[in-house]
């Protein structure tokens, strides 16, 4: 390294901004060159003098009150900002809860509407198919329904009531698949004390989450059977309808298991 190169790098050397190799080259040159050594010492002295002058100057030092005030002010701003964030977070949580509650309420309302609609359809099918034979579309056999729509219809062909659960004879009068107002059912017609009872399963509708009891012109009991809903409809006394429903519950569950 020559003196000219060293002088060009002298400030960077003093500021410790050079690579280790360059520092070594400078140190080697300084060991042999008293003029450059003196120049470096001069620059170091000026640098130290500057630093010392700044540190010793009373004018340039902040007061302790000012330093405390900076801390207080920023702390106060941070506190207000965090409080604002807390409020915004609380509002966001409240809004989310309202949204979830509304969603649940809407789902419950839709579910109730669907159940009411299914119940009305089951009662209507019992009236128009089992009692008055006035359906606009003729019923078809369960076998045909199984072929055309869903093999699960075939399973209703062998379901028989559990006679031990009723008082008196409970017999199957008919089995078929019929349509009421566009909704297709698997329909088992029973006779109980000379009155007709319909067991109706809308195969394309999901199961109820709980049992239902409704009374209109016909009594209707609805209960989940596997992934389906079973409706038992008749005008017989409520306790008799409960017995018929109980008589059908297990046989249906067994027949539809795994469907």
């Amino acid at each position: 390294m020559h003196c000219r190169e060293l002088l060009a790098l002298a400030d960077s050397y003093l500021a410790d901004q050079l690579l280790v190799e360059t520092n070594h080259a400078i140190l080697r040159h300084l060991a042999e060159c008293p003029q450059c050594r003196a120049e470096i010492e001069d620059r170091r002295r000026l640098r130290d003098a500057l630093r010392g002058a700044f540190q010793r100057s009373a004018t340039l030092q902040p007061s302790s009150e000012f330093l405390a005030a900076v801390g207080d002010r920023t702390r106060s701003i941070a506190g207000r900002r965090d409080a604002g964030r807390s409020w915004r977070a609380a509002l966001a949580i409240a809004a989310a809860l309202i949204l979830v509650a509304t969603s649940f309420a809407l789902q419950a309302w839709l579910s109730a509407r669907r159940v009411a609609e299914l119940t009305r359809a089951a009662a209507g099918d019992h009236r128009d198919c089992a009692l008055q034979f006035r359906l606009s579309e003729q019923p078809i056999s369960l076998e045909e329904a199984a072929r055309r729509f869903d093999p699960v219809y075939r399973r209703f062909a062998t379901v028989n009531p559990d006679a031990g659960r009723v008082k008196g004879p409970l017999t199957v009068v008919a089995r078929h698949s019929c349509v009421f107002q566009g909704r297709r059912f698997a329909h088992i017609v029973l006779s109980y004390h000379d009155q007709l009872v319909s067991v109706l399963v809308p195969v394309d509708s999901p199961a109820l989450t709980s049992e239902i009891r409704t009374v209109d012109r016909e009594r209707v009991i609805g209960f989940p059977t596997g992934r389906f809903t079973t409706f038992v409809v008749s005008a017989i006394a409520a306790e008799d309808l409960e017995r018929v429903a109980d008589a059908m519950r297990d046989p249906l569950s067994r027949a539809l298991a795994g469907a």
């Binding site: 400030d11 001069d42 000026l46 003098a49 500057l50 902040p62 005030a69 900076v70 920023t74």
Partner: protein, 176 residues
Amino acid sequence: MKGWTSFEAEALPHADRLFRFAMWLERDRAAAEDLVQETFVQALQSFHRFAPGTNCRAWLLKILRHVRSNRLRARRRSPVVADINDTIADTVPFIPPIPQQLTDEDVLQALAALPEPYQQVIVLCDVEDLTYKEIAMALDVPIGTVMSRLHRGRALLRSQLARAHNAGRRNEHALP
């Protein structure tokens, strides 16, 4: 107050050195205090942008420089034009030796006589111990500009010191 805790630990310890730099630039205590307060408020608001592990003082100095530039603009004072000062510095003919006796007053007066861009880089490098890269970030200038300003600024500083020293000696000889 998690953000505040980090801010308190990372940024607030630099308040005294930030004030010293602000005071050097403003030459007025009230103005310097106001500048530093505003710098810390802005730093708090954008503390999420500070990269942990980097030099917080350099980051704060950059904010301070922005705040001061905005204030100067608002007061319709023209911003510092580096090229003009660089041209002045180019006219420095040679680098005189540094006087043997240097008082704090000599050094600070000589520094104050330089154009501000040179004062800034010299203070940030020699007093604040920032690296060239950190100075470049704080002042928003390329690193090459930092190096050339340092070189020319130091040459100007030495000229200024030599001039002041020679004037002092002449005054001494003139005494009866």
